[in-house]
């Protein structure tokens, strides 16, 4: 099998456990504090490493967009074993929606391919943890003119085609596309490795290009708040549910649950 060049899209997000808030001026999500690699992307990085190893050689390039030049999350992917990274950073990117983000990522994937022989496969998560639109990867594929297979739970390739077990509501489909192609991965598709301390230190010396919009030939008017072409018209608190009875289990909690289900006529 020929060597493979895999590009993995990685999103760097604020701590997902921290309570989110909206910027009162722009009414977009406040993205500050320490950035980490979105857990959803660790499956893509792991899959890329495994596919390149199975191909007997090649490279894994991490692709990320970060308006403030954050690279900490990208370093996590490099520590896992990715070879290099391209981070697109530009203040004009703040407020970008899924389509604008896809334009940036697609341009960066093209850039990654220019280095040598093109990219054979682009991997991404099905959706990010903080934005969860779930359209960006397909938009990247469309911009690059590639076929896409979404919601993969298993991926194999022979260097010419990629074959995927694609999650469906009823079970799964076996789907095939010819390379180059884009595949999105569901969580649990592979088990991401934990980098060793040595790999974490080594990641600091791996090539990580931080480039601006101009270098990719992108117009600032096509991205960010301007490119999103949408506005938030109102922000209100949702009607809250109130808590009912909360009781300690005294060994007879099941009796209580059964009688509650009876009162609801479920049983």
């Amino acid at each position: 099998m020929p060597a493979m060049h895999v590009a993995v899209c990685v999103k760097q997000i604020p701590d997902p456990a921290a309570p989110g808030k909206l910027d009162p001026a722009t009414r977009t999500l406040v993205r500050e504090g320490k950035f980490v690699m979105d857990d959803s992307d660790s499956y893509g990085v792991e899959m890329a490493l495994q596919l390149v190893q199975a191909a007997g050689g090649g490279a894994v390039t991490v692709i990320s967009m970060a308006p403030g030049g954050e690279i900490k999350g990208v370093r996590e992917a490099l520590a896992m074993g990715a070879d290099d990274a391209i981070v697109v950073s530009d203040e004009a990117l703040r407020g970008s929606d899924a389509l604008s983000t896809a334009k940036v990522l697609a341009a960066a994937v093209r850039r990654a391919g220019e280095a040598g022989g093109g990219v054979d496969l682009v991997l991404a998560a099905t959706e990010s943890t903080d934005g969860y639109t779930g359209t960006t990867p397909v938009q990247v594929a469309a911009l690059l003119g590639l076929p896409s297979i979404t919601f993969a739970k298993k991926v194999t390739t022979d260097g010419v085609t990629v074959t995927v077990e694609r999650q469906t509501d009823e079970g799964h489909d076996d789907v095939q596309a010819t390379l180059p192609a884009l595949v999105t991965l569901t969580a649990g598709a592979v088990e991401p490795r934990y980098p060793a301390f040595k790999a974490i230190m080594g990641a600091k010396n791996k090539p990580c290009q931080v480039i601006g919009l101009a270098e990719l030939g992108l117009d600032p008017g096509d991205v960010g708040f301007a490119g999103a072409r949408q506005e938030i018209t109102s922000v209100t608190a949702a009607a809250e549910r109130s808590a009912g009875d909360v009781v300690e289990d005294d060994g007879q909690a099941h009796v209580r649950i059964v009688s509650y289900l009876e009162s609801l006529k479920v049983v």
């Binding site: 389509l99 896809a102 943890t129 896409s148 739970k153 799964h172 289990d249 049983v267």
Partner: protein, 324 residues
């Protein structure tokens, strides 16, 4: 009416139309003078149901054994440019599903049109469509609208509208030809595998029993499935146990999963991360079992049991079995 014309993408299901598509047709009826459906299943079989839910026309795309995203989007784009301006839709509504997202992503690029996703409400904002979104675990509602005159694409979460029928006669069926899709269209579905699963679908079940990390190990998820079976419901899961590989993604309830609105939701060993709550807080009644008295799930449940789910569930299952 907010707008003149809306198209709704309706996925096929079991030889007919998927419920989430019928929901969108019913919702679109209150927003547009004319509603048309775009489907890619057996249009003739579905025409009566689609018409009854509001589709004046049923536009159908024969995707063969390709994945739906590329051919359906290409057929829509071709149909749009073939129509006179006045007969083009202002907006296309798509369900936030596997295929819905693929189609929306391809349409978005082909038309250079942004997408508003995870919509949980649509209303007439003075002649324009205003979308509602639930953020921060459903604690905050955000309304948004497009500022462009391009075609408006909305990905709407299932259960946003009620699939009410009674709109009228069967829609007129018309085939939409697929233009050459080139390289992007080169996907082939080699085989479809259906898992034998009993009981209702997760997003349509009257009772949902979901499990989380509090079950401690993968094998105990069988208790959740057993309880769901006894209550004629569907088993669900948190993102944490899907990420851990205990169950497939299709079981996931929450922000990055399915929205469910059952009569009764039983949360077993689930603390109630915002990620999960946004997908289930629309349930009529919530029963929660969790070890930690301070877990957020107890702030929104109707009956909360502070205790070890792995001990309570076997007793509950036995008690239910002994009743029948």
């Amino acid at each position: 009416m907010a707008v003149e014309r809306i198209w709704v993408v309706v996925e096929p299901a079991g030889g007919g139309a998927a419920t989430n598509g019928l929901e969108l047709l019913a919702g679109a009826r209150g927003l547009a003078a004319t509603v048309e459906a775009v489907t890619f299943g057996d249009a003739n079989a579905a025409a009566a149901t689609l018409g009854d839910h509001g589709a004046a026309t049923v536009l159908t795309v024969d995707t063969g054994n390709a994945m739906a995203g590329v051919p359906v989007a290409a057929a829509i784009v071709a149909a749009l440019s073939a129509r006179e301006g006045g007969r083009r839709p202002t907006a296309i509504l798509l369900p936030q599903t596997y295929e819905g997202r693929d189609i929306a992503g391809r349409l978005s690029v082909a038309l250079d049109a942004p997408v508003l996703a995870n919509v949980v409400g649509l209303s007439d904002g003075g002649g324009r469509l205003v979308a509602e979104h639930a953020v921060f675990g459903g604690s905050t509602m955000v309304k948004a609208a497009f500022t462009t005159d391009r075609l408006q694409l909305f990905l709407v979460r299932p259960k946003t509208f009620v699939a009410e029928g009674g709109a009228g006669a069967a829609g007129t069926v018309a085939a939409l030809p697929i233009p050459d899709t080139g390289r992007p269209g080169a996907t082939t579905v080699l085989a479809r595998h259906t898992e034998e699963r009993q009981g209702p679908k997760l997003d349509e079940a009257a009772v949902v029993v979901s499990g989380g990390r509090g079950l401690v190990d993968k094998d105990r998820y069988a208790l959740v499935e057993e309880l769901a079976r006894l209550l004629h419901g569907a088993p669900g899961a948190t993102r944490a146990i899907v990420d851990a590989g205990w169950v497939p993604y299709s079981y996931q309830v929450g922000q990055t999963g399915k929205t469910v609105k059952p009569d009764v939701y039983v949360a077993v060993g689930i603390s109630g991360a915002t990620q999960h709550m946004v997908g289930m807080k629309g349930a009529k009644k919530i029963i929660a079992i969790n070890k930690d008295r301070d877990a957020p799930i107890f702030a929104i449940c109707d009956l909360g049991i502070v205790g070890d789910a792995t001990k309570i569930l076997p007793k509950l299952i036995d008690a239910l079995k002994n009743r029948s």
